[in-house]
Amino acid sequence: MIREVQGIILMLVGIVILRISWGTAYLDYVKESMRPWLLASGAILVILGVLALVDALRRGGVSEAEAQRSDEEIVFDGVEGDHDHAHGGPRAAWLLVLPILVVFVVAPPALGAWAAARDTTNSVAAQQALPPLPPGDPVPVFLSDYVTRAVWEQGVSLEGRTVELTGFAVSTDDGGWQLARMQIQCCAADAFASKVQPVGLPPDFADVPENTWLTVTGQWVPGDAAADGSPGATPSSSAIPLVQVGSIAVVPEPVNPYD
């Protein structure tokens, strides 16, 4: 790989990272807390890339003999065939073009209905008693929080409260849909889905296209959509709790699509 290209690839990777973390696109892939690290590493890569490019252009003026000598120095590095350092750069670097292209051209969206539908675990047992919901009527609650409270505390802390849940629609086998939202710990590779079953939907919302973002305002009612709605079922990680819909509206995708 020629040195000019090395510098350009470094710069482009840096620019890609800066571009997604400058705005809010990075939130489709990683947590908000990664932002300063992304900005810093993007900047470092751009600087390294520019310096490598300047080096390469300057080196363009060196004598033939000197270039020859530096190539000889490099050859022994290739003990194995897969480690090609001819012209002073690792061949593997070409692979970095792939993420650059994928981010700039495809810009894959946040995980949606397909990923949510295949996740069969809906919640993890609450490790300790959850604090009461904050004041507010309605009170906005994360879907994952709602599911944990509904399944593992039998809805004790939800009773009598009007909650506001935001998520996207996932179609179910029976032709209906559930409200889902993904939760990430670190990046989208470790995402989990939380799902609730809205009941008492107005007729215009009986059928909603997948991945439509909605805000549902309503109240907790006992029951489990995964176990034929039998109320009082034993808490399980696959239980899908219900929400009695008071009002419902289509909303734009939140800036941070994950819980």
């Binding site: 090395q6 470094l10 990272i17 990046c187």
Partner: protein
């Protein structure tokens, strides 16, 4: 204009939700690992450029069998994940650290550093013994693999990154050359690993896991293989492990011990840095030792 047309055209191609999910996971792994990789190459460049070779001779015991656990314990101070430790271990070898010790460091650094242990503590609130079990099993694995390398490893299997061509006119210049080279090299192999992990993430149906959880031994093996396939950053894997509630604590410990030491992106990066002959022997050995240690420590501390 042309760019937007190309984007439109490609978007219509990528309509398959499975492919789209894989693309998201691929970018996510790459973006998540990148800052750690940059940190790692800056550290390895600093080692190459500013730390005199004689320092390592003084810092590590001259007895090589003793240097292995010392280097393994030193892994506790590098607050990064596995992507950072590959270039650092490479730089250590180049600077004359005995390979077995550098390998013990490579294995222990992403597994037992404070950030990882704290996140394990937070992820398993009712089970503080999980933190101890992870520390003990990971450290033991790192040291044992280091010793195995010392006893059975052959120099020709390992390609120690030599880099006279990266020596610049000034230490600062060497620093830049090394950082640039290491990033391009490790980054390329990170791409391969992230691609493989994204494909696996989409291809393996989650229902397979539920079937494994009931058999104690299969549960442990299943968690170990899942750790290899998912290639999650070691600073986040505790939260993922905690969520597999249907699996035994020992199975989840195995996930935590194997993940930072053997996974698809690491294997790809290791074969890039140290050669295929190395990775083909090192990764399976580490896998076996890590699973064995997890079962042993799990039986001792978690039952």
């Amino acid at each position: 204009m042309l760019f937007f047309l190309a984007q439109r055209w490609l978007m219509s191609r990528v309509e398959s939700p499975a492919l789209e999910t894989a693309a998201t996971v691929f970018v996510a792994i790459f973006v998540q690992a990148l800052p750690f990789l940059v940190l790692g190459v800056l550290l390895s460049a600093a080692i190459a450029a500013f730390v005199p070779q004689s320092f390592w001779a003084r810092a590590l015991p001259s007895n090589r069998a003793l240097a292995v656990p010392v280097a393994g314990a030193a892994g506790a101070v590098l607050p990064g994940c596995e992507c950072a430790s590959v270039p650092v271990a490479g730089a250590l070898m180049t600077r004359g650290v005995t390979p077995a010790a550098a390998l013990a460091f490579l294995l222990s650094a992403p597994a037992i550093n404070p950030i990882v242990l704290i996140s394990t503590f937070v992820a398993f609130p009712g089970e503080p013994e999980m933190v101890l079990a992870r520390l003990v099993a990971s450290f033991a694995t790192a040291v044992i693999v280091g010793w195995l390398w010392l006893r059975f490893g052959r120099p020709e299997w390992l390609r120690i990154p030599r880099r006279t061509h990266l020596e610049g006119a000034t230490p600062w210049h060497t620093f830049r050359l090394t950082a640039t080279h290491d990033f391009l090299h490790a980054g390329g192999f990170l791409v391969v690993g992230a691609l493989a992990a994204a494909a696996m993430n989409v291809l393996i149906p989650p229902s397979w896991l539920d079937a494994l959880a009931d058999n104690p031994l299969l549960a442990i093996l299943g968690m170990a293989l899942l750790a290899v396939v998912l290639s999650i950053c070691s600073e986040a894997d505790a939260f993922v492990a905690a969520s597999f509630t249907s699996f035994s604590l020992t199975a989840r410990l195995t996930f935590l011990v194997v993940g930072p030491m053997v996974d698809l992106k690491l294997m790809s990066m290791q074969s890039g840095f140290f050669g295929r002959a190395f990775a083909a022997r090192f990764a399976p050995t580490t896998f076996v030792v890590a699973v064995g240690m997890s079962i042993l420590v799990g039986w001792w501390l978690l039952t």
